[in-house]
């Protein structure tokens, strides 16, 4: 993985000193809260319902054991012993004191971490496929490009006061696990006929109040033009994006109001001015950054390994279920990427205790080439483990309550913090996730249902990504009561779709029954267990579900 050089070290420690000075000036009154707010946001500090919240960047979701242990230490020292992994592959601490934040950042800098641009109207943490560098289906590792973009966008002088936040995601595979089409810029690595690396570029996706799927602006952007083209998009957005209404300020609205052809022409015109200049990416530099992400030295698969693993699965049904759900295909023979679910039944999605973080760090060091990933589905991943080691990893995870075999199942729920933490929320989300999780946890039941993504947001800002849930749940407030709207058919992969509202909402007490009705309806109409929920929904439409929920088609 990427390692800081002297330049990066000085950069991050200068940023810590700068923020320390900003906090000092805020506390002395030189800065008003209005003046301080964008400064603290650009360093990941939010003011939540009960306290400040610090969001620490985990660039493209990649970290090592040492960094994970530091996060555990921060959780223990400055928080209440746990952290919350987010849908943008970051981690949030919910209870730090403002005056402690500079010290926390200084400690994080020791392990090459920071909180730069995890919030604010700037270019946010660049995200990528959580199986990057491991996935069997990958064209190339997206992380070197995400790292180059991370560097180039850090404290960018022109793009620190954009109309609104700006999110970039990169996928290295045709099967999109990074949800690139619901980002402001989505990049998909592709090769042209000559075998050269480039990007298919999508612009203007996003969720929130006005969900939109990104539009393709380029089929093939050569690697060398990555920064020049990104700068062109950002400059067009900075100049022409709306600033009169924060809910209409994302680039998706500019795309919608300007139209694809005109906006693409604007971008290309700007790109013509910028290209072939200082922002060209020299091949040697791309290679140098890529070398940091070289695959670890994988062990040869030994004769008998596969048989031994098959035997272990035969003799332990729980392990077999875990392997079925939580292992993903790896490019190296005998290896797999292992998902550690942070969705134990009945718990808050994405939370991990300091002890759990330390266990994951130990496992990564012992079995996983010292690599850990955070997925946008709020789980952790050991990207490179030998299949032969999975039984032992499973045993140790089980001891820490981390062996839930539910990756991609109905209890693997994404939920925003909701009214339990967030000042914007209008309804609870975590308790709804917990109750759904408990309802479907019964042994075998969630396995029988199969792949099904449930995503819950506690307000229309859609941090729980409900628009792209196969079943999406949106909590709203009506006359002092929480109501939950169900959307169906959303998807955040290469066939991205925004879910459709199925009908009137359900009460806090009724929402779990409603979800169960939807699931039972699916089970009744699917053609085979291989037809998953989304495929079935796309085949039959929403009529059977409406009928089941409301008695009227």
């Amino acid at each position: 993985m990427y390692r800081y050089d002297e330049f990066d070290e000085s950069f991050v420690s200068s940023r810590v000193a700068q923020f320390r000075d900003q906090v000092r000036r805020r506390l002395s009154g030189d800065l008003s809260e209005d003046q301080f707010k964008p400064l603290r946001l650009m360093n990941g500090v939010y003011l939540q319902l009960h306290a400040y919240m610090l969001r620490v960047a985990i660039p493209y979701g990649t970290l090592n054991a040492r960094q994970m242990r530091k996060l555990a230490e921060v959780a223990r020292t400055y928080d209440r012993g746990y952290g919350h992994f987010t849908t943008r592959q970051n981690i949030q601490f919910n209870w730090p004191r403002l005056q402690d934040v500079p010290d926390i950042l200084a400690e994080l800098a020791e392990v090459e971490m920071h909180a730069i641009q995890t919030s604010g109207n700037c270019i946010r943490n660049v995200t990528a496929d959580h199986f990057a560098g491991a996935a069997a289906d990958e064209v190339a590792d997206p992380r070197p490009y995400a790292e180059i973009l991370r560097q180039w966008s850090s404290l960018h002088p022109e793009f620190s006061f954009l109309p609104r936040k700006f999110k970039i995601a990169v996928t290295g595979a045709a099967h999109d696990r990074a949800a690139v089409q619901v980002h402001d810029i989505g990049l998909q690595l592709v090769r042209d006929e000559a075998g050269s690396i480039g990007f298919t570029v999508f612009v203007g996706g996003g969720l929130g109040r006005t969900p939109m799927v990104a539009r393709k602006v380029r089929d093939f952007l050569p690697e060398t033009d990555l920064l020049a083209y990104t700068e062109a998009i950002l400059r067009v957005y900075n100049r022409y994006g709306r600033r009169d209404n924060k809910y209409k300020a994302r680039v998706k609205i500019l795309m919608h109001e300007t139209g694809l052809d005109t906006l693409r022409a604007d971008i290309e015109r700007e790109f013509e001015e910028v290209r072939s200049g200082v922002l060209d990416l020299p091949k040697a530099e791309v290679d140098r950054i890529t070398a940091y992400f070289a695959p670890p030295p994988f062990a040869q698969e030994e004769a008998g390994d596969a048989d031994a693993f098959a035997q272990a699965l035969d003799s332990d049904p729980a392990l077999a279920v875990f392997a079925e759900r939580n292992l993903a295909p790896h490019k190296a023979p005998g290896y797999a990427s292992l998902t550690i679910s942070l969705k134990p039944i009945g718990e808050a999605p994405g939370d991990a205790s300091a002890e759990q973080m330390e266990l994951v760090a130990d496992l990564a060091e012992t079995f996983g080439h010292d690599e850990i990933r955070v997925s946008h589905e709020q789980n952790l991943v050991l990207p490179h483990v030998r299949r032969a080691d999975v039984p032992e990893i499973f045993r140790r995870l089980r001891g820490a309550g981390l062996a839930e075999a539910n990756a991609g199942l109905i209890t693997d729920i994404i939920a925003c913090p909701g009214m339990d933490y967030c000042a914007l929320a209008t309804a609870r989300s975590i308790p709804v996730a917990q109750r759904i999780s408990e309802r479907f946890a019964a042994s075998g039941r969630q396995q029988e249902i199969g792949d099904l993504k449930v995503k819950i947001s506690g307000c229309i800002n859609a941090c729980g990504h409900h628009h792209v849930g196969h079943i999406g749940i949106l909590g709203v407030e009506k006359k002092g009561e929480e109501y939950y709207q169900i959307t169906l058919g959303g998807s955040g992969d290469e066939n991205t779709a925004i879910g459709q509202i199925v009908g009137r909402g359900f009460s806090y007490d009724g929402i779990v029954d409603a979800v169960e009705t939807v699931v039972d309806t699916y089970l009744g109409l699917r053609q085979s267990p291989q037809e998953d929920f989304l495929a079935a929904y796309r085949r039959v439409g929403d009529a059977p579900f409406k009928e089941a929920l409301y008695g009227t088609a």
Binding site: F7, S14, D30, Q35, Q151, P157, E158, N238, V278, P282
Partner: protein, 174 residues
């Protein structure tokens, strides 16, 4: 008049006078600041003014100034609110695309923490009325991260290390 124009070598007095939209073009000598909109509508109306500066507001397209740039002693870019970042793009376009060489001044809601970013976009003068910002600048306190990860518009920056996109200020050995 208060000395509120900050440049490399300290504070000086603002000797430019804003020409209000309904004010006739003066015949007496003086330094006058004219809005981009008004100037572009009738450039010839200002032919007799010896010294003229342009006021660019957020949303103005600075590229329309291209044929006239050698007439301006100064261009002022207004930040109606410090959180409106359009002025940064206007500055870079003026400096880098149109090669404007005169004074480029930030006016309006100009605060300490934005000044380093503004400088990197090509501003070399700042009208500062925010008292804590003035105090900090007077004592040379410019809380900056003096290492940069992207090429921008300041001439006194040099490549830093192997990365094509990294820069550091000239004079700071890194």
């Amino acid at each position: 008049m208060q000395a509120d124009i900050y440049k490399e070598n300290g504070f000086s007095i603002d000797d430019w006078q804003l020409l209000e939209e309904d004010q006739a073009v003066p015949t007496e000598p003086g330094r006058f600041l004219v809005s981009l909109e008004r100037f572009v509508a009738a450039p010839e109306a200002f032919a007799d003014l010896r010294e003229i500066a342009i006021l660019v507001r957020a949303g103005d397209d600075v590229t329309v100034l291209a044929p006239h740039l050698d007439r301006f002693t100064m261009v002022a870019i207004e930040f109606a609110a410090f959180s409106d970042g359009r002025g940064y793009s206007s500055a870079r376009l003026l400096r880098q695309r149109l090669c404007y060489r005169g004074e480029l001044r930030a006016v309006g809601d100009v605060l300490l923490d934005q000044i380093p970013l503004m400088r990197r976009c090509g501003f070399d003068a700042f009208k500062v009325v925010h008292e804590p910002t003035r105090r900090a600048l007077e004592t040379g306190h410019l809380a900056e991260v003096p290492l940069y990860l992207q090429p921008a518009a300041r001439p006194d920056e040099q490549p830093a290390g192997a990365r094509a996109w990294a820069r550091s200020p000239v004079g700071l050995a890194r």
